[in-house]
Amino acid sequence: MKLARSTAVILVMPWVATFAAFWLFPILYSIFLGFTDYELLRPTYDWVGLDNFRALFADQDFLSAIKNTAIFVVGTIPVTTALALLMALLVNKQFPGRDFFRASFFIPSITSMVVVALIFTTLYSRGGYVALLAEMAGVATPANGFLNDSRTALYSIMAMDIWMSSGYYMLIFLAGLKSIPVELYESAEINGAGALRQFWSITLPLLRPTALFIIVINTIKSFQVFVEILVMTKGKFDTSTMVYHIYETGLTTQFRFGYASAAAYILFCIIALFSIVQFILMRRRESW
């Protein structure tokens, strides 16, 4: 069954047009912009070579945005992945109420990020419920609330992100668990392997591709952390991230399109690098 050429041309048109206008063009255009000093309120702009890139790596705000993004990525992904696996294991086998628990664990991840950020802003505020719980546990709390203190703000946002996304990755782990043949467990049982042994020798190794897939998509997502920063702290208290920095320099006050595009391009290269490394790991799943 092969479609006629004339039909196929019409059928793919919506994507070809969207791809050209809203993906290919912006990506190429942002590379170009990165080498110019284009700003919204300036009538002309010049080619400035690598000036933007040089300026960025001397820009303390950009460097701290890189640092905060790195903390965010490195701090959330292992915890989210581990919690997601734990939750998946808890609701994997059939038991009364399983579907209810599955659905409840998943619901935070379909909630809008803006809504989640608003809820946690109130929970983290001075005298809010998180402070209350911390006091009950005997932990010192920041005087102005968790989001108004540079020692706690970023970590509070990270904790919220873990809360929000674990249920989503739980679902992907559940799909991975389903694909493990039951016979493996049966034969392990016959050979006298206990539950813990089965987990280490069967479940965990066979879940590696799933875990890696989760880490890849979570990495791409986490490097772009932005909405929660804008809603919760506006980048204050040492919480600015790379996308927030792009937004702040490129789309507020001065509208420095060239400068922000250069920053976006650096972010693009970092994400691409990470994705490539992770894909190489994924290809070598047997030896990994």
């Binding site: 206008a21 628990f101 659905a103 989503y168």
Partner: protein, 275 residues
Amino acid sequence: MVTPSRVGKTILRYGALVIVLVITAAPLVWMIRVALLPPGASTAISDLLTMNFAIEAFRSVISSESIGRAFFNSALVGLVVTVANVLFCFSVGYALARRNTLPVRLIFWSVVGVLMIPAYITIIPLYVLMVESGLYDSYWALTLPWLVSPIGIFLVKQYLESIPTSMEEAARVDGASDWRIMFTVVMPLCKPALSVLAIQAFFTNWNSFLFPFILTSREELRTLPVALALLQGHQAIDWQRLMAGSTIAVLPVLILFLFLQRHIVEGITAGAVKQ
């Protein structure tokens, strides 16, 4: 056979489940509870635990110009984008699945490539593009770039490749045209994949914040997430109204989720298992 160790395990399992459940649900329950407080009530535990319910906050938020309009915008944009995605992702996915020539394969690679590209890096050029083309601050800016999604195309293509083409061939022998076959034979067969992609398109769009936020500025064009985020920026923050607005933003998604759970779960896991 019920043994003590078995009972212990069950208690342990449910104990862990309940702990996770409380942590997962508490913030959302809190949101709804605060939204239902009477005006002027405090959010102290003692107030939250009373049977003191009122819908004033909801009433005031719904009747307020900005949130009512934002709800309408979100619904309209969500509907348009969802319908367009079903139609266009089906059309492109069908072509990719049923024609295997070099140009078509290249187009497929563009789809996979975009799936891997972090969308947020395009904010500056997309903003400039919208301003230069005069589409900035219009319903076009809210819809045009998202009428067809790479993940949707991918889903349809994979699905179509997994079903046999014998029915299409039979229809062809009977003299049906390409278009007729596509809409009357293939589209009904594709319903499972299309419903998954419709839900995904609607959810993504309904919750989307960054692009609506940067590509519009007029108050009449705000979608719910944008309106809520900006409401919070205002001087005196009234938490009850803010939480009522948030509840309104979450409710449609929650209701759809309860009815369409199976499709949603399929949509998320489909992409993962194929890897």
